[in-house]
């Protein structure tokens, strides 16, 4: 699996791994029923610890993207489009929450924050 990890990023490795597998599932690069590499295979390929891979797989399972059949492997679950859309939305919300927290910490008001958002949106359009 072509996954690119950034070891100097502050984002935990298991989270980077999760996000990339997730987007592969959402974009149907990984299809329903398809097997993910075994924990140790992916650990070897990416040169990270097996526990990190396992953590990512466990979280993906909690979120319903994959199912692990004990002793057999981890498979992509029936890709629920609604679930995928929600997951993406959640990620965006999280990013906004972080930015808003930062803005509040430096004392920006709601109006000022909204103004920043408007300016950025206008720049892009």
């Amino acid at each position: 699996m072509d996954i690119i990890l950034n070891h100097s990023s502050m984002i935990p490795i298991y989270e980077q791994l999760m996000d990339q597998i997730k987007s592969k599932i959402i974009q149907s690069v990984l299809k329903e029923g398809e097997a993910l590499p075994s924990v140790r295979t992916l650990a070897r390929e990416l040169r990270i610890s097996a526990l990190t891979v396992k953590k990512a797989y466990d979280r993906l399972e909690e979120e319903g993207f994959v199912t692990t059949v004990h002793g057999k492997g981890t498979y992509v679950t029936a890709s629920d489009k609604q679930l995928a859309v929600e997951a993406r939305r959640k990620a965006v919300e999280d990013a906004f929450t972080k930015a808003i927290d930062k803005a509040k910490a430096v004392g920006l008001s709601k109006e000022e924050i909204l103004e920043i958002v408007n300016i950025i949106m206008e720049d892009e359009s």
């Binding site: 490795i13 298991y14 140790r40 990270i48 610890s49 097996a50 927290d101 930062k102 430096v106």
Partner: protein, 282 residues
């Protein structure tokens, strides 16, 4: 797989007193400064040193009572191969064939070729890197369930180290139940391989943590005197006086990132962990 329960070993100038439990399928790293007790710990596990009190066991059997059958399931890589310097690869191969019923001759020969280990040269003439590769290969080739490696990458350049680590990764991939205990000075080797890390200092385990937790949640806060005075100390494990103020080691980097967005926070790796927790931080 490996269990040390309150194992105590006293030497005239040093006492080791540790407990650890390594389950099946786990890759554990043992780190610590020179003389911290890493090699003694490994010798206790292997039954090469008898504990004064407490219990060391492997596969549920007391270490000093391990049977030959059980020993065949352990692959060991110590500072020395244990083979005479005058032997060559072919000699060693014929010894290993007799020693281990599980010895995979074809694999051994293939690996020797891949690793460019000359068959007819005596070990004495091997380079440091070649000797190290041979030590690791000898430990792996009988398909042991458990590998115990004391500094397998010591003294090697980055390429040779990666080759050895890749050998270990391949070995692990072949059977998910395989377990490794590895000690090393080179923290990046352990960061990319081990599931968890034991930090040993003055004969005691002072920290045991999952590697990714260390990498993700541990960090160093760099603060000036004024910031330090008002700093919430809840998750500060250790602080050291610096010329600019203080370096504070935390296991909750995120908490401080959110609470003090202006403070400089660096990632904490295993090197930082050793330096901060054993008092040598500079």
């Amino acid at each position: 797989m490996i269990s040390l329960k309150n194992v105590v070993k006293t030497y005239s100038d040093f006492q080791l007193n540790i407990s650890m439990a390594i389950p099946k399928g786990r890759i554990s790293g043992l780190v610590g400064k020179n003389g911290a007790g890493k090699s003694t710990t490994i010798k206790l596990i292997l039954g090469l040193v008898k504990p004064d009190s407490g219990e060391a066991s492997v596969f549920g059997t007391q270490s000093c009572k391990l049977t030959i059958k059980e020993k065949e399931q352990i692959g060991v890589c110590l500072a020395d191969t244990g083979f005479s310097n005058q032997l060559n690869i072919l000699d060693i191969e014929s010894i290993l064939v007799k020693m281990y019923p599980g010895f995979d001759k074809a694999y051994f020969q293939r690996k020797c070729e891949e690793l460019k280990l000359p068959k007819d040269k005596i070990v004495k003439e091997f380079s440091t890197g070649m000797k190290a590769k041979l030590r690791v290969l000898v430990a792996m080739t009988h398909k042991a369930k458990l590998l115990i490696m004391d500094e397998p990458t010591a003294g090697l350049d980055v390429e040779a180290r990666n080759e050895i680590l890749d050998m270990l990764r391949n070995y692990l991939e072949e059977d998910e139940e395989r377990t490794i205990l590895i000690s090393s000075h080179i923290s990046s080797d352990l960061e990319n391989l081990c599931d968890d890390i034991y930090l040993i200092h003055d004969g005691k385990i002072i920290l045991h943590e999952d590697t990714d937790v260390i990498l993700d949640q541990y960090g160093i806060l760099k603060v000036n005197e004024a910031q330090y005075a008002t700093l919430d100390q809840t998750y500060i494990l250790k602080s050291h006086k610096e010329h600019y103020g203080y370096a504070c080691f935390t296991n909750e980097k995120k908490y401080y990132q959110e609470k003090y967005p202006d403070i400089v926070i660096e990632k904490g790796g295993i090197d930082e962990l050793i330096l901060m927790m054993t008092g040598g931080y500079r």
